[in-house]
């Protein structure tokens, strides 16, 4: 273990420079966020991820946000274990009818002010799965959505852009 730790000291970090925020995301957020919410939350956001029916592809890339290359926490963003600790719900998948109630309850358990970010093409409108007897559709059919990050799945960089825009919009800095 000492060898591995020592190597980490002598080599530079793998973490990469952050991407710029996404202008389109910022515009969507500016329209959705009210000033008071921005003032109260500060620059740190706690995120609760909810898979509402995803194929798990989006989950893999959300996991990647935590790896050393993207290092999400340096932006004040971190994943938490309970919706009761969360400011943001990061929701993936077409919302299945079997998950609709669980998503609604998770949303209700998240304290105000709160935001919902829908990740992936399925979360936007049900994607390939819309029209199925088992699918309720996109996330906005079930809970109000503040920001969509498209892609199948969106790459970690694309997610970072959207989430950085979220922090920026929240502090009002980019306005």
């Amino acid at each position: 273990m000492r060898k591995t730790l020592f190597e980490s000291l002598t080599h530079g970090p793998l973490t990469e420079a952050p991407p710029a925020h996404d202008d389109q995301a910022l515009a969507e957020l500016a329209a959705n966020l009210d000033r008071s919410a921005r003032r109260r939350l500060g620059r740190s956001l706690a995120i609760r991820e909810v898979d509402a029916g995803s194929c798990n592809g989006c989950e893999l890339e959300i996991h990647a946000l935590n790896n050393v290359f993207y290092d999400l926490e340096r932006f004040g963003l971190r994943f938490v274990a309970s919706p009761r600790h969360a400011d943001v719900l990061l929701v993936t998948g077409p919302v299945t009818k079997n998950m609709r109630e669980a998503l609604e309850r998770t949303y209700a358990a998240t304290p105000d002010p709160k935001w919902v970010v829908a990740v992936g093409d399925c979360a936007a409108d049900g994607g390939m799965f819309s029209g199925s007897y088992a699918v309720a559709g996109g996330v906005s059919n079930v809970v109000p959505v503040d920001l969509h990050i498209r892609g199948c799945p969106p790459s970690p960089t694309e997610m970072l852009r959207g989430l950085i825009a979220l922090v920026e919009a929240q502090t009002g800095k980019a306005r």
């Binding site: 273990m1 060898k3 591995t4 730790l5 190597e7 793998l14 991820e49 909810v50 898979d51 509402a52 029916g53 995803s54 194929c55 798990n56 592809g57 989006c58 989950e59 893999l60 890339e61 959300i62 996991h63 990647a64 935590n66 790896n67 050393v68 290359f69 994943f79 274990a81 309970s82 919706p83 998948g93 077409p94 299945t96 009818k97 079997n98 998950m99 609709r100 109630e101 669980a102 998770t106 390939m128 799965f129 029209g131 199925s132 007897y133 088992a134 699918v135 199948c152 799945p153 790459s155």
Partner: protein, 503 residues
């Protein structure tokens, strides 16, 4: 001993390839059930048919001759003799057939619904489609009796970034007495969306059955279509598919090895393995233009050839992995606090993996040397040199070591694939046609099975069987007698697919 094919008589279906499908009587169905129950054959799957009403299919493989056969039973009374009554691994499969298609297994040991959690507008959505009675009835979890027992309900929304499912623990103090799973939360109705879909749309649906195995599903689906239409993918396409499959295996195994250690609170491994996983995904992106290589495998071949300069990047990634991974293996092996958590935890007995026909690292960690790349086998693996690692301890540690050894084998395979990559076209042209096909592919998690019927340019019916069907039930067995705090560790060492299972 007489071969399985000699006792199974029935009307052979034309155009079912490459293995036979027989329409059988209830008597032969029972004989087939007995053959599976006594261990002469292994159950491959049991499914309904969205194209032909009221038929149930059962796939099996002879343990000695390795012959594969599908038997089909017509159920005019909407019932069929229960397989689960004699062979427990079939229980969840036939509960799903009952919930989706309305075909009832008679004398089944468990009549509760499966996948149907009571939220769809209609019952039996692929069968009679009857309106759901209101109010919906509560699900009866299995009873547990005894002094000082308490229950812990977990999910469907879990604490980590994972898929949804419900786990009902009954514990005596810290010790788990019973775990019961309830799955189906991510059921998207893939079989109903497949029925009537164009080939192109169906391939995309297959690729989104379980995102972490998108390449494996793509290959199994392509194998089934190519069998049904009697088409062969060109050699270069076979090699490119195998390259994608091994990259997918590498990425997932790195992710798993790190995540298992992380669940034992050893985040150093997690950070290093996460970096290796990222390197593999970036190499995949530079080779095929998508990090997870989604939609790159298509029926008939592959959608994209290697992008320019990508082999150089691929080789650079292989060098980096070869340089860094050995010290991580050493780190895993030398850290006693970590070994203390993984050794002897979550043991799966050999007889269970044999009975369930469990594939992947779970089967191989408990002595079952099954690998679809070897048996039934498919090109190009017949031309490549690789081993299938096996261990016998069946604990979390063994499942970690199987992954470590498989990483080494995949690296060796990728070298051979690059070196021997043939030139030529990357896809064969598919003509419209009629036929049925069965296809396999070995994903990182185990063998994916796809059965398909194609009618002109449309899919008439398609069933996708994730390896998790024969792995999830063993997690219930593995956790028994372990402490609650070791559940995340056991669960991560299994890493079953929720989406692939729930369909």
């Amino acid at each position: 001993m007489t071969a399985l094919t000699e006792i199974l008589h029935g009307v052979r279906v034309d155009d079912h390839r490459p293995w036979p499908r027989l329409i059988v009587t209830a008597g032969i169905w029972r004989s087939a059930t007995t053959a599976i129950a006594v261990g002469r054959a292994t159950l491959l799957g049991l499914w309904g048919d969205a194209g032909v009403p009221n038929v149930v299919h059962m796939g099996m493989v002879d343990k000695d001759t390795r012959d594969i056969v599908v038997v089909s039973l017509e159920c005019p009374n909407l019932t069929f003799p229960s397989v689960g009554a004699h062979h427990p691994p079939a229980i969840r499969l036939e509960r799903a057939v009952h919930s989706l298609y309305g075909l009832k297994p008679t004398d089944a040991p468990d009549a509760r619904p499966w996948l149907d959690l009571g939220f769809w507008d209609e019952q039996c959505p692929l069968g009679a489609r009857t309106p759901r009675p209101t109010p919906r009835s509560a699900y009866a979890f299995l009873p547990t009796e005894g002094q000082h027992l308490h229950q812990i309900p977990v999910g469907p929304v879990h604490a980590g970034i994972i898929e949804p499912g419900h786990f009902r623990f009954t514990a005596s103090g810290e010790t788990v007495v019973r775990l019961e799973q309830r799955l189906g939360y991510v059921h998207k109705g893939i079989e109903s969306l497949m029925a009537g879909a164009s080939l192109e749309r169906a391939a995309k649906l297959a690729a989104r059955t379980s995102g972490d195995s998108t390449v494996a599903y793509g290959i199994a689906f392509a194998h089934a279509i190519e069998a049904a239409l009697n088409v062969e993918a060109p050699p270069r396409a076979r090699f490119l598919r195998a390259l994608m499959a091994e990259l997918e295996r590498l990425a997932n195994h790195f992710g798993d090895i790190g995540a298992i250690c992380n669940d034992a609170a050893f985040s150093l491994m997690h950070a290093h393995c996460g970096a290796l996983r990222e390197l593999v995904l970036r190499a995949a992106d530079s080779c095929f233009g998508h990090r997870l290589m989604m939609d790159r495998v298509v029926p008939g071949g592959v959608a994209t050839d290697l992008l320019a300069d990508s082999l150089t990047r691929l080789r650079r990634m292989l060098d980096q992995v070869r340089r860094r991974f050995p010290s991580l293996i050493e780190l895993y092996d030398d850290t006693t606090s970590l070994q203390d958590r993984t050794v002897g935890t979550g043991v799966v007995h050999a007889n269970l993996v044999q009975q369930f026909g469990t594939g992947g690292y779970i089967g191989r960690a408990s002595g079952r040397k099954a690998d679809a790349r070897k048996t039934p086998g498919y090109p190009p693996y017949d031309q490549l040199d690789f081993d299938v690692p096996v261990r016998t301890e069946g604990d979390v540690n063994a499942r970690v070591w199987i992954r470590i050894r498989e990483v080494e084998q995949s690296l060796k395979l990728i070298d051979q694939l690059i070196e021997r990559m043939p030139a030529g076209p990357i896809a064969a042209k598919l003509a419209e046609g009629h036929g049925e096909g069965l296809g396999f592919a070995e994903g990182f998690r185990g063998d994916v099975l796809v059965w398909i019927r194609i009618d002109g340019n449309r899919i008439s019916a398609c069933h996708l069987r994730d390896p998790s069907w024969f792995q999830w039930p063993l997690l219930e067995a593995a956790i028994e007698g372990n402490i609650v705090a070791d559940f995340p560790l056991c669960n991560k060492s299994f890493n079953c697919s929720y989406s692939g299972h729930d369909l």
